[in-house]
Protein backbone atom coordinates (compact mmCIF):
# COMPACT_ATOMS: atom_id res chain seq x y z
CA UNK A 1 0.00 0.00 0.00
CA UNK A 2 2.72 2.41 0.94
CA UNK A 3 4.29 1.30 -2.31
CA UNK A 4 1.35 2.58 -4.28
CA UNK A 5 1.42 5.85 -2.41
CA UNK A 6 5.05 6.34 -3.25
CA UNK A 7 4.74 5.62 -6.93
CA UNK A 8 1.86 8.08 -7.28
CA UNK A 9 3.86 10.68 -5.43
CA UNK A 10 6.91 10.00 -7.55
CA UNK A 11 4.88 10.20 -10.71
CA UNK A 12 3.52 13.53 -9.56
CA UNK A 13 7.05 14.74 -8.85
CA UNK A 14 8.23 13.58 -12.23
CA UNK A 15 5.33 15.30 -13.98
CA UNK A 16 6.07 18.42 -11.97
CA UNK A 17 9.73 18.44 -12.95
CA UNK A 18 8.82 17.95 -16.63
CA UNK A 19 6.45 20.86 -16.38
CA UNK A 20 9.18 22.95 -14.79
CA UNK A 21 11.67 22.23 -17.52
CA UNK A 22 9.09 22.89 -20.23
CA UNK A 23 8.18 26.20 -18.62
CA UNK A 24 11.84 27.10 -18.36
CA UNK A 25 12.50 26.22 -21.97
CA UNK A 26 9.56 28.31 -23.18
CA UNK A 27 10.63 31.18 -20.95
CA UNK A 28 14.21 31.06 -22.19
CA UNK A 29 13.35 30.74 -25.86
CA UNK A 30 10.96 33.68 -25.62
CA UNK A 31 13.62 35.72 -23.84
CA UNK A 32 16.23 34.85 -26.41
CA UNK A 33 13.89 35.71 -29.29
CA UNK A 34 13.19 39.08 -27.66
CA UNK A 35 16.89 39.78 -27.33
CA UNK A 36 17.42 38.90 -30.99
CA UNK A 37 14.92 41.48 -32.20
CA UNK A 38 15.46 44.02 -29.41
CA UNK A 39 17.77 46.31 -31.42
CA UNK A 40 14.77 47.16 -33.59
CA UNK A 41 13.14 48.80 -30.58
CA UNK A 42 15.88 50.01 -28.26
CA UNK A 43 19.21 51.75 -28.55
CA UNK A 44 21.88 49.06 -29.00
CA UNK A 45 24.15 50.83 -26.52
CA UNK A 46 21.45 50.61 -23.86
CA UNK A 47 20.86 46.92 -24.62
CA UNK A 48 24.56 46.16 -24.56
CA UNK A 49 24.97 47.89 -21.23
CA UNK A 50 22.06 45.89 -19.93
CA UNK A 51 23.54 42.59 -21.12
CA UNK A 52 26.94 43.37 -19.61
CA UNK A 53 25.46 44.16 -16.23
CA UNK A 54 23.07 41.22 -16.42
CA UNK A 55 26.02 38.91 -16.98
CA UNK A 56 27.90 40.61 -14.17
CA UNK A 57 24.97 40.13 -11.80
CA UNK A 58 24.56 36.47 -12.80
CA UNK A 59 28.27 35.90 -12.19
CA UNK A 60 27.89 37.50 -8.80
CA UNK A 61 24.85 35.39 -8.04
CA UNK A 62 26.86 32.26 -8.77
CA UNK A 63 28.69 33.12 -5.58
CA UNK A 64 25.96 34.61 -3.40
CA UNK A 65 23.05 32.46 -4.53
CA UNK A 66 24.77 29.16 -5.11
CA UNK A 67 27.65 29.28 -2.66
CA UNK A 68 26.22 31.57 0.00
CA UNK A 69 29.18 33.95 0.00
CA UNK A 70 28.54 37.68 -0.03
CA UNK A 71 31.47 39.34 -1.77
CA UNK A 72 31.84 43.08 -1.49
CA UNK A 73 34.75 43.15 -3.89
CA UNK A 74 33.39 42.11 -7.26
CA UNK A 75 34.17 45.49 -8.80
CA UNK A 76 37.79 44.34 -8.78
CA UNK A 77 37.04 41.58 -11.28
CA UNK A 78 34.64 43.60 -13.39
CA UNK A 79 36.79 46.72 -13.49
CA UNK A 80 40.10 44.88 -13.53
CA UNK A 81 39.05 42.94 -16.60
CA UNK A 82 37.84 46.16 -18.20
CA UNK A 83 41.36 47.59 -17.81
CA UNK A 84 43.07 44.44 -19.06
CA UNK A 85 40.89 44.18 -22.14
CA UNK A 86 41.12 47.88 -22.89
CA UNK A 87 44.90 47.81 -22.55
CA UNK A 88 45.35 44.70 -24.68
CA UNK A 89 43.14 46.01 -27.45
CA UNK A 90 44.31 49.59 -27.45
CA UNK A 91 48.01 49.37 -26.62
CA UNK A 92 48.90 45.93 -27.89
CA UNK A 93 46.45 45.92 -30.78
CA UNK A 94 44.88 42.58 -29.86
CA UNK A 95 41.64 41.47 -31.52
CA UNK A 96 38.56 42.04 -29.32
CA UNK A 97 37.90 38.37 -28.54
CA UNK A 98 41.48 37.90 -27.35
CA UNK A 99 41.27 41.10 -25.36
CA UNK A 100 38.14 39.84 -23.62
CA UNK A 101 39.80 36.49 -22.94
CA UNK A 102 42.73 38.28 -21.35
CA UNK A 103 40.24 40.17 -19.18
CA UNK A 104 38.70 36.87 -18.11
CA UNK A 105 42.08 35.34 -17.30
CA UNK A 106 43.19 38.44 -15.38
CA UNK A 107 39.97 38.49 -13.38
CA UNK A 108 40.37 34.80 -12.59
CA UNK A 109 43.88 35.43 -11.25
CA UNK A 110 42.64 38.36 -9.16
CA UNK A 111 39.81 36.10 -7.96
CA UNK A 112 42.27 33.42 -6.97
CA UNK A 113 44.36 35.88 -4.96
CA UNK A 114 41.38 37.47 -3.24
CA UNK A 115 39.74 34.08 -2.72
CA UNK A 116 42.76 32.48 -1.09
CA UNK A 117 42.88 35.31 1.43
CA UNK A 118 39.16 35.55 2.13
CA UNK A 119 37.59 32.15 1.59
CA UNK A 120 37.94 30.75 5.10
CA UNK A 121 36.14 33.72 6.63
CA UNK A 122 32.43 33.58 7.29
CA UNK A 123 29.59 36.04 6.73
CA UNK A 124 30.38 39.65 7.41
CA UNK A 125 34.12 38.98 7.79
CA UNK A 126 34.20 37.59 4.29
CA UNK A 127 32.41 40.68 3.00
CA UNK A 128 34.80 42.98 4.86
CA UNK A 129 37.95 41.28 3.63
CA UNK A 130 36.78 41.29 0.02
CA UNK A 131 35.90 44.97 0.40
CA UNK A 132 39.30 45.79 1.87
CA UNK A 133 41.14 43.93 -0.87
CA UNK A 134 39.11 45.55 -3.60
CA UNK A 135 39.85 48.96 -2.10
CA UNK A 136 43.54 48.07 -2.30
CA UNK A 137 43.06 47.20 -5.94
CA UNK A 138 41.25 50.50 -6.45
CA UNK A 139 44.25 52.41 -5.15
CA UNK A 140 46.55 50.32 -7.26
CA UNK A 141 44.51 51.34 -10.31
CA UNK A 142 44.56 54.96 -9.18
CA UNK A 143 48.37 54.97 -8.96
CA UNK A 144 49.37 52.57 -11.67
CA UNK A 145 50.61 53.76 -15.01
CA UNK A 146 48.82 51.39 -17.32
CA UNK A 147 45.37 52.36 -16.01
CA UNK A 148 46.18 56.02 -16.63
CA UNK A 149 44.95 57.15 -13.23
CA UNK A 150 41.97 59.49 -13.08
CA UNK A 151 41.58 59.56 -16.84
CA UNK A 152 41.24 55.86 -17.35
CA UNK A 153 41.88 54.18 -20.67
CA UNK A 154 39.89 56.13 -23.22
CA UNK A 155 39.02 55.62 -26.87
CA UNK A 156 39.40 51.89 -26.85
CA UNK A 157 38.90 50.63 -30.40
CA UNK A 158 36.31 47.90 -30.76
CA UNK A 159 38.37 46.36 -33.53
CA UNK A 160 37.51 43.46 -35.78
CA UNK A 161 36.16 40.23 -34.33
CA UNK A 162 38.56 37.42 -35.33
CA UNK A 163 40.16 40.11 -37.46
CA UNK A 164 37.13 39.93 -39.77
CA UNK A 165 33.91 41.44 -38.47
CA UNK A 166 33.95 45.18 -37.88
CA UNK A 167 32.61 45.78 -34.37
CA UNK A 168 32.41 49.52 -34.77
CA UNK A 169 29.19 48.73 -36.61
CA UNK A 170 26.79 48.81 -33.71
CA UNK A 171 24.57 45.93 -34.90
CA UNK A 172 27.62 43.69 -35.22
CA UNK A 173 28.73 44.73 -31.77
CA UNK A 174 25.31 44.04 -30.32
CA UNK A 175 25.19 40.48 -31.64
CA UNK A 176 28.74 39.89 -30.45
CA UNK A 177 27.74 41.03 -26.97
CA UNK A 178 24.60 38.89 -27.11
CA UNK A 179 26.63 35.85 -28.14
CA UNK A 180 29.10 36.36 -25.29
CA UNK A 181 26.22 36.86 -22.89
CA UNK A 182 24.60 33.59 -23.98
CA UNK A 183 27.93 31.76 -23.67
CA UNK A 184 28.36 33.18 -20.18
CA UNK A 185 24.87 32.07 -19.16
CA UNK A 186 25.45 28.58 -20.55
CA UNK A 187 28.69 28.34 -18.59
CA UNK A 188 26.90 29.40 -15.40
CA UNK A 189 24.07 26.95 -16.01
CA UNK A 190 26.43 24.10 -16.65
CA UNK A 191 28.56 25.00 -13.66
CA UNK A 192 25.55 24.87 -11.35
CA UNK A 193 24.26 21.65 -12.89
CA UNK A 194 27.50 19.70 -12.82
CA UNK A 195 29.19 17.23 -10.47
CA UNK A 196 31.01 20.23 -8.99
CA UNK A 197 27.70 22.06 -8.64
CA UNK A 198 26.25 19.12 -6.72
CA UNK A 199 29.05 19.35 -4.18
CA UNK A 200 28.53 23.11 -3.90
CA UNK A 201 24.87 22.45 -3.26
CA UNK A 202 25.60 19.88 -0.58
CA UNK A 203 28.01 22.30 1.09
CA UNK A 204 25.29 24.94 1.13
CA UNK A 205 22.85 22.42 2.59
CA UNK A 206 25.12 21.06 5.32
CA UNK A 207 28.70 22.21 5.45
CA UNK A 208 29.79 20.01 8.38
CA UNK A 209 28.39 16.93 6.71
CA UNK A 210 30.19 17.74 3.46
CA UNK A 211 33.42 18.05 5.45
CA UNK A 212 32.81 14.75 7.18
CA UNK A 213 32.39 13.14 3.77
CA UNK A 214 35.92 14.27 3.01
CA UNK A 215 35.22 17.33 0.89
CA UNK A 216 37.59 20.21 1.38
CA UNK A 217 34.87 22.82 1.65
CA UNK A 218 37.22 25.77 1.28
CA UNK A 219 38.54 24.48 -2.04
CA UNK A 220 35.09 24.10 -3.55
CA UNK A 221 34.17 27.57 -2.39
CA UNK A 222 37.39 28.88 -3.85
CA UNK A 223 36.58 27.19 -7.15
CA UNK A 224 33.20 28.89 -7.22
CA UNK A 225 34.81 32.20 -6.28
CA UNK A 226 37.31 32.02 -9.13
CA UNK A 227 34.60 31.02 -11.60
CA UNK A 228 32.44 33.91 -10.42
CA UNK A 229 35.38 36.30 -10.75
CA UNK A 230 36.22 35.05 -14.24
CA UNK A 231 32.63 35.53 -15.42
CA UNK A 232 32.47 38.97 -13.82
CA UNK A 233 35.64 39.62 -15.82
CA UNK A 234 33.89 38.48 -18.97
CA UNK A 235 31.23 41.08 -18.33
CA UNK A 236 33.79 43.77 -17.50
CA UNK A 237 35.99 43.13 -20.51
CA UNK A 238 32.96 43.24 -22.75
CA UNK A 239 31.82 46.46 -21.13
CA UNK A 240 35.09 48.19 -21.90
CA UNK A 241 34.59 47.38 -25.59
CA UNK A 242 30.98 48.50 -25.56
CA UNK A 243 31.68 51.90 -24.01
CA UNK A 244 35.23 52.05 -25.35
CA UNK A 245 36.72 53.04 -22.04
CA UNK A 246 37.80 51.61 -18.72
CA UNK A 247 37.86 53.92 -15.73
CA UNK A 248 38.09 53.98 -11.96
CA UNK A 249 34.28 53.86 -11.75
CA UNK A 250 34.45 50.21 -12.77
CA UNK A 251 36.70 49.23 -9.86
CA UNK A 252 35.13 51.50 -7.23
CA UNK A 253 33.24 50.02 -4.27
CA UNK A 254 29.99 51.51 -5.57
CA UNK A 255 30.19 49.06 -8.45
CA UNK A 256 30.40 46.19 -5.97
CA UNK A 257 27.37 47.61 -4.21
CA UNK A 258 25.46 47.99 -7.45
CA UNK A 259 25.84 44.34 -8.40
CA UNK A 260 24.64 43.26 -4.96
CA UNK A 261 21.62 45.49 -5.47
CA UNK A 262 20.85 44.04 -8.89
CA UNK A 263 21.12 40.48 -7.62
CA UNK A 264 18.95 41.04 -4.57
CA UNK A 265 16.35 42.89 -6.64
CA UNK A 266 16.11 40.10 -9.16
CA UNK A 267 16.21 37.25 -6.71
CA UNK A 268 19.24 35.40 -5.35
CA UNK A 269 19.61 31.77 -6.18
CA UNK A 270 17.46 31.98 -9.31
CA UNK A 271 19.36 31.60 -12.52
CA UNK A 272 17.66 34.45 -14.38
CA UNK A 273 16.59 36.69 -11.49
CA UNK A 274 19.73 38.84 -11.59
CA UNK A 275 19.10 39.57 -15.29
CA UNK A 276 15.86 41.26 -14.32
CA UNK A 277 17.49 43.01 -11.40
CA UNK A 278 20.18 44.37 -13.69
CA UNK A 279 17.54 45.37 -16.24
CA UNK A 280 15.64 47.33 -13.63
CA UNK A 281 18.68 49.15 -12.27
CA UNK A 282 20.14 49.97 -15.70
CA UNK A 283 16.77 51.19 -16.98
CA UNK A 284 16.31 53.38 -13.93
CA UNK A 285 19.78 54.83 -14.30
CA UNK A 286 19.12 55.58 -17.94
CA UNK A 287 15.85 57.36 -17.31
CA UNK A 288 17.06 59.26 -14.31
CA UNK A 289 20.29 60.33 -15.98
CA UNK A 290 18.30 62.73 -18.15
CA UNK A 291 16.09 64.00 -15.33
CA UNK A 292 16.89 66.19 -12.36
CA UNK A 293 16.35 63.45 -9.79
CA UNK A 294 19.45 62.27 -7.99
CA UNK A 295 19.97 58.72 -9.29
CA UNK A 296 21.38 57.17 -6.15
CA UNK A 297 18.49 58.34 -3.97
CA UNK A 298 15.90 56.98 -6.38
CA UNK A 299 17.62 53.61 -6.78
CA UNK A 300 17.96 53.49 -3.01
CA UNK A 301 14.25 54.06 -2.56
CA UNK A 302 13.38 51.51 -5.25
CA UNK A 303 15.65 49.05 -3.55
CA UNK A 304 14.00 49.58 -0.19
CA UNK A 305 10.53 49.20 -1.63
CA UNK A 306 11.52 46.05 -3.47
CA UNK A 307 13.11 44.50 -0.44
CA UNK A 308 9.99 45.24 1.58
CA UNK A 309 7.51 44.09 -1.06
CA UNK A 310 9.44 41.37 -2.88
CA UNK A 311 11.37 39.60 -0.18
CA UNK A 312 12.57 36.96 -2.59
CA UNK A 313 13.41 39.36 -5.38
CA UNK A 314 11.27 39.92 -8.45
CA UNK A 315 11.80 36.53 -10.04
CA UNK A 316 11.81 34.77 -6.69
CA UNK A 317 8.37 36.22 -5.95
CA UNK A 318 7.16 35.30 -9.40
CA UNK A 319 8.23 31.69 -8.95
CA UNK A 320 6.54 31.54 -5.58
CA UNK A 321 3.35 33.23 -6.81
CA UNK A 322 0.28 31.22 -7.75
CA UNK A 323 0.91 31.88 -11.42
CA UNK A 324 4.55 30.84 -11.11
CA UNK A 325 3.64 27.65 -9.32
CA UNK A 326 0.97 26.95 -11.92
CA UNK A 327 3.70 27.04 -14.54
CA UNK A 328 5.67 24.59 -12.44
CA UNK A 329 8.27 26.92 -10.96
CA UNK A 330 9.20 26.54 -7.39
CA UNK A 331 11.42 28.82 -5.41
CA UNK A 332 14.12 26.96 -3.61
CA UNK A 333 14.34 29.09 -0.50
Amino acid sequence: MSDAVHTTKQKAELAQSRKTSTSYAVFLLAGFALLLIAPMFFYPIFLMKLLCFALFACAFNLLLGYTGLLSFGHATFFGGAAYFTAHAVKVWGWTPELGVLLGVAGAAVLGLVMGVVAIRRQGIYFAMITLALSQMFFFFCLQSEFTQGEDGIQQVPRGHLFGLIDLSVSTNMYYFVLAVFVIGMVVIWRFINSPFGMILKSIRENEARATSLGYSVARYKLGAFVMSAALAGLAGGLKSLVFQFATLTDVAWQMSGEVILMTLLGGIGTLIGPIFGAGLVVTLQNYLATSDFPVTIITGVVFMVCVLVFRRGIIGEFYASRFGRMLGFEHRH
Partner: protein, 260 residues
Protein backbone atom coordinates in the same frame (compact mmCIF):
# COMPACT_ATOMS: atom_id res chain seq x y z
CA UNK B 1 22.74 -10.23 29.80
CA UNK B 2 26.06 -11.45 31.17
CA UNK B 3 27.80 -12.23 27.91
CA UNK B 4 28.04 -9.99 24.90
CA UNK B 5 26.01 -11.50 22.09
CA UNK B 6 28.91 -11.24 19.71
CA UNK B 7 32.40 -12.50 20.33
CA UNK B 8 35.28 -11.06 18.43
CA UNK B 9 38.99 -11.64 18.18
CA UNK B 10 40.47 -9.85 21.17
CA UNK B 11 43.77 -9.38 19.45
CA UNK B 12 42.55 -7.44 16.40
CA UNK B 13 44.74 -4.45 15.74
CA UNK B 14 44.17 -0.95 17.03
CA UNK B 15 43.12 1.33 14.15
CA UNK B 16 42.30 4.49 16.04
CA UNK B 17 43.88 5.51 19.30
CA UNK B 18 43.97 8.58 21.48
CA UNK B 19 46.35 9.35 24.31
CA UNK B 20 45.81 11.99 26.96
CA UNK B 21 43.05 13.58 24.91
CA UNK B 22 41.96 16.82 26.55
CA UNK B 23 39.69 19.68 25.53
CA UNK B 24 39.06 22.76 27.59
CA UNK B 25 36.52 25.48 26.87
CA UNK B 26 37.85 28.38 28.88
CA UNK B 27 38.33 27.05 32.39
CA UNK B 28 35.95 24.14 31.81
CA UNK B 29 37.46 20.80 30.80
CA UNK B 30 34.91 18.98 28.66
CA UNK B 31 37.30 16.09 28.01
CA UNK B 32 40.13 15.20 30.40
CA UNK B 33 43.05 12.93 29.71
CA UNK B 34 41.14 10.31 27.75
CA UNK B 35 42.95 7.24 26.38
CA UNK B 36 41.05 5.26 23.80
CA UNK B 37 41.86 2.27 21.61
CA UNK B 38 39.43 1.40 18.87
CA UNK B 39 40.08 -2.00 17.28
CA UNK B 40 39.40 -3.37 13.88
CA UNK B 41 36.37 -5.63 13.51
CA UNK B 42 34.88 -4.48 16.79
CA UNK B 43 31.98 -2.36 17.88
CA UNK B 44 33.15 -0.06 20.62
CA UNK B 45 30.56 1.78 22.66
CA UNK B 46 31.14 5.14 24.26
CA UNK B 47 28.51 5.67 26.93
CA UNK B 48 27.91 8.08 29.73
CA UNK B 49 25.37 10.56 31.03
CA UNK B 50 24.41 13.67 29.06
CA UNK B 51 27.15 16.25 29.07
CA UNK B 52 29.82 13.65 29.79
CA UNK B 53 31.80 14.78 26.75
CA UNK B 54 31.02 11.99 24.26
CA UNK B 55 30.22 14.26 21.34
CA UNK B 56 33.26 16.37 22.17
CA UNK B 57 35.42 13.25 21.99
CA UNK B 58 33.96 12.57 18.55
CA UNK B 59 34.68 16.13 17.49
CA UNK B 60 38.26 15.77 18.67
CA UNK B 61 38.86 12.41 17.01
CA UNK B 62 37.48 13.66 13.69
CA UNK B 63 39.35 16.95 14.09
CA UNK B 64 36.24 19.10 13.99
CA UNK B 65 37.74 20.42 17.22
CA UNK B 66 41.44 20.84 17.91
CA UNK B 67 42.49 19.06 21.13
CA UNK B 68 43.96 21.23 23.89
CA UNK B 69 46.34 18.39 24.69
CA UNK B 70 46.99 14.80 23.75
CA UNK B 71 47.51 12.95 20.52
CA UNK B 72 45.45 10.94 18.05
CA UNK B 73 46.65 8.19 15.79
CA UNK B 74 44.69 6.77 12.86
CA UNK B 75 45.94 3.64 11.09
CA UNK B 76 49.51 4.35 12.15
CA UNK B 77 49.49 8.02 11.19
CA UNK B 78 49.48 10.85 13.67
CA UNK B 79 46.43 13.01 12.90
CA UNK B 80 46.61 15.36 15.86
CA UNK B 81 47.08 18.31 13.51
CA UNK B 82 45.27 17.06 10.41
CA UNK B 83 42.29 18.87 8.85
CA UNK B 84 38.88 17.20 9.26
CA UNK B 85 38.27 16.60 5.54
CA UNK B 86 41.70 14.97 5.28
CA UNK B 87 40.91 12.73 8.22
CA UNK B 88 37.72 11.69 6.44
CA UNK B 89 39.68 10.90 3.29
CA UNK B 90 42.03 8.75 5.36
CA UNK B 91 39.08 6.57 6.25
CA UNK B 92 37.64 7.92 9.49
CA UNK B 93 34.06 8.96 8.83
CA UNK B 94 31.59 10.20 11.38
CA UNK B 95 27.91 10.81 11.70
CA UNK B 96 26.42 13.57 13.77
CA UNK B 97 24.24 13.55 16.87
CA UNK B 98 21.73 15.76 15.10
CA UNK B 99 20.85 13.97 11.90
CA UNK B 100 23.00 15.23 9.08
CA UNK B 101 21.46 14.71 5.69
CA UNK B 102 21.34 17.13 2.78
CA UNK B 103 17.71 18.07 3.31
CA UNK B 104 16.75 19.31 -0.16
CA UNK B 105 18.43 16.50 -2.04
CA UNK B 106 16.69 13.24 -2.79
CA UNK B 107 17.65 10.12 -0.89
CA UNK B 108 19.52 8.85 -3.92
CA UNK B 109 21.35 12.16 -4.39
CA UNK B 110 22.40 12.14 -0.73
CA UNK B 111 24.20 8.87 -1.25
CA UNK B 112 25.54 9.89 -4.66
CA UNK B 113 27.09 12.98 -3.11
CA UNK B 114 29.17 10.74 -0.88
CA UNK B 115 30.07 8.47 -3.81
CA UNK B 116 31.26 11.35 -5.97
CA UNK B 117 34.56 11.80 -4.19
CA UNK B 118 35.90 8.24 -4.20
CA UNK B 119 34.84 8.01 -7.83
CA UNK B 120 36.66 11.20 -8.81
CA UNK B 121 33.47 12.85 -9.97
CA UNK B 122 33.36 15.87 -7.70
CA UNK B 123 35.40 18.56 -9.42
CA UNK B 124 34.15 18.37 -13.00
CA UNK B 125 32.29 21.62 -13.53
CA UNK B 126 32.00 21.08 -17.25
CA UNK B 127 30.12 17.78 -17.18
CA UNK B 128 26.33 17.47 -16.96
CA UNK B 129 24.75 16.09 -13.78
CA UNK B 130 23.71 13.05 -15.80
CA UNK B 131 27.37 11.99 -15.67
CA UNK B 132 26.62 11.03 -12.07
CA UNK B 133 24.15 8.39 -13.23
CA UNK B 134 26.90 5.82 -13.28
CA UNK B 135 26.94 6.03 -9.50
CA UNK B 136 23.29 4.94 -9.34
CA UNK B 137 24.04 1.24 -9.23
CA UNK B 138 26.26 1.45 -6.17
CA UNK B 139 23.96 3.99 -4.50
CA UNK B 140 20.95 1.72 -4.98
CA UNK B 141 22.91 -1.22 -3.61
CA UNK B 142 23.61 0.75 -0.44
CA UNK B 143 20.01 1.88 -0.16
CA UNK B 144 18.84 -1.70 -0.57
CA UNK B 145 21.25 -2.82 2.15
CA UNK B 146 19.79 -0.38 4.67
CA UNK B 147 16.20 -0.83 3.48
CA UNK B 148 15.69 2.62 2.01
CA UNK B 149 15.37 1.70 -1.65
CA UNK B 150 11.64 2.39 -1.82
CA UNK B 151 12.29 5.96 -0.76
CA UNK B 152 15.05 6.52 -3.30
CA UNK B 153 13.36 9.55 -4.89
CA UNK B 154 11.99 11.06 -1.70
CA UNK B 155 13.41 14.42 -0.68
CA UNK B 156 15.47 13.78 2.45
CA UNK B 157 13.64 16.46 4.44
CA UNK B 158 10.39 14.49 4.01
CA UNK B 159 11.75 11.37 5.71
CA UNK B 160 10.88 10.60 9.32
CA UNK B 161 13.65 11.26 11.83
CA UNK B 162 14.54 7.61 12.15
CA UNK B 163 14.68 7.12 8.39
CA UNK B 164 16.96 10.14 8.06
CA UNK B 165 19.38 8.44 10.42
CA UNK B 166 19.24 5.33 8.31
CA UNK B 167 20.01 7.43 5.24
CA UNK B 168 22.92 8.94 7.11
CA UNK B 169 24.37 5.51 7.71
CA UNK B 170 23.97 4.57 4.06
CA UNK B 171 25.75 7.79 3.10
CA UNK B 172 28.55 7.09 5.56
CA UNK B 173 28.95 3.52 4.27
CA UNK B 174 29.17 4.85 0.73
CA UNK B 175 32.69 6.01 1.58
CA UNK B 176 33.68 2.51 2.66
CA UNK B 177 35.40 3.92 5.76
CA UNK B 178 37.93 2.00 7.82
CA UNK B 179 36.61 3.48 11.04
CA UNK B 180 33.03 4.63 11.63
CA UNK B 181 32.08 7.02 14.39
CA UNK B 182 28.35 7.03 15.02
CA UNK B 183 26.93 9.57 17.46
CA UNK B 184 23.69 8.18 18.88
CA UNK B 185 22.69 6.50 15.61
CA UNK B 186 19.53 4.97 17.08
CA UNK B 187 18.20 8.03 18.88
CA UNK B 188 14.64 8.74 17.79
CA UNK B 189 14.31 5.47 15.88
CA UNK B 190 11.39 3.09 16.04
CA UNK B 191 11.91 -0.47 17.26
CA UNK B 192 11.97 -1.85 13.72
CA UNK B 193 14.71 0.52 12.58
CA UNK B 194 16.70 -0.15 15.73
CA UNK B 195 16.78 -3.86 14.92
CA UNK B 196 17.57 -3.08 11.30
CA UNK B 197 20.39 -0.67 12.11
CA UNK B 198 21.81 -2.99 14.78
CA UNK B 199 22.10 -5.67 12.14
CA UNK B 200 23.73 -3.26 9.71
CA UNK B 201 26.29 -2.15 12.29
CA UNK B 202 27.06 -5.73 13.24
CA UNK B 203 27.52 -6.61 9.60
CA UNK B 204 29.62 -3.54 8.86
CA UNK B 205 31.90 -4.16 11.84
CA UNK B 206 32.99 -7.50 10.45
CA UNK B 207 35.62 -5.71 8.43
CA UNK B 208 35.74 -2.29 10.03
CA UNK B 209 36.00 -0.61 13.38
CA UNK B 210 32.94 1.12 14.78
CA UNK B 211 32.91 3.56 17.67
CA UNK B 212 29.42 4.53 18.68
CA UNK B 213 27.72 6.65 21.29
CA UNK B 214 24.59 4.87 22.41
CA UNK B 215 22.11 5.37 25.23
CA UNK B 216 20.09 2.25 24.57
CA UNK B 217 21.89 -0.24 26.81
CA UNK B 218 20.18 -3.28 25.36
CA UNK B 219 21.63 -2.30 21.98
CA UNK B 220 25.03 -1.86 23.63
CA UNK B 221 24.87 -5.27 25.26
CA UNK B 222 23.65 -6.77 21.99
CA UNK B 223 26.20 -5.54 19.50
CA UNK B 224 29.13 -3.94 21.29
CA UNK B 225 32.31 -5.83 22.11
CA UNK B 226 33.90 -3.17 24.19
CA UNK B 227 32.50 -0.37 26.30
CA UNK B 228 34.06 2.83 27.56
CA UNK B 229 32.14 4.81 30.15
CA UNK B 230 32.71 8.52 30.26
CA UNK B 231 31.72 10.80 33.10
CA UNK B 232 32.46 14.51 33.39
CA UNK B 233 35.01 14.22 30.62
CA UNK B 234 36.94 11.39 32.23
CA UNK B 235 36.97 7.64 31.72
CA UNK B 236 35.07 6.01 34.54
CA UNK B 237 35.25 2.38 33.49
CA UNK B 238 36.22 0.25 30.55
CA UNK B 239 35.85 -3.37 29.48
CA UNK B 240 33.26 -5.67 27.96
CA UNK B 241 29.64 -4.98 28.74
CA UNK B 242 29.37 -7.66 31.42
CA UNK B 243 32.29 -6.25 33.37
CA UNK B 244 31.34 -2.62 32.97
CA UNK B 245 27.71 -3.13 33.87
CA UNK B 246 28.71 -4.79 37.16
CA UNK B 247 30.96 -1.90 38.11
CA UNK B 248 29.39 -0.14 41.12
CA UNK B 249 30.61 3.29 40.00
CA UNK B 250 28.94 2.84 36.65
CA UNK B 251 25.75 1.71 38.37
CA UNK B 252 25.84 4.87 40.46
CA UNK B 253 26.46 7.06 37.42
CA UNK B 254 23.57 5.43 35.65
CA UNK B 255 21.21 5.41 38.61
CA UNK B 256 17.73 6.24 37.44
CA UNK B 257 18.57 5.19 33.93
CA UNK B 258 17.96 1.79 32.44
CA UNK B 259 19.12 -1.07 34.68
CA UNK B 260 21.75 -3.26 33.16
Amino acid sequence: MAQPAVQSPKESRVVLSARGLTKTFGAFAAVKDVDLDVRDAQVHALIGPNGAGKTTVFNLLTKFLQPSAGSINLLGTDITRTAPDKVARMGLVRSFQISAVFPHLSVLDNVRTALQRPNNLSTQFWLPVSSLDRLNGRAEELLTAVGLIKERNTIAADLSYGRKRVLEIATTLALDPKVLLLDEPMAGMGQEDIGNVSNIIREVAKERAVLMVEHNLSVVSDICHHVTVLQRGEILAEGDYATVSQDPRVRTAYMGEEEA
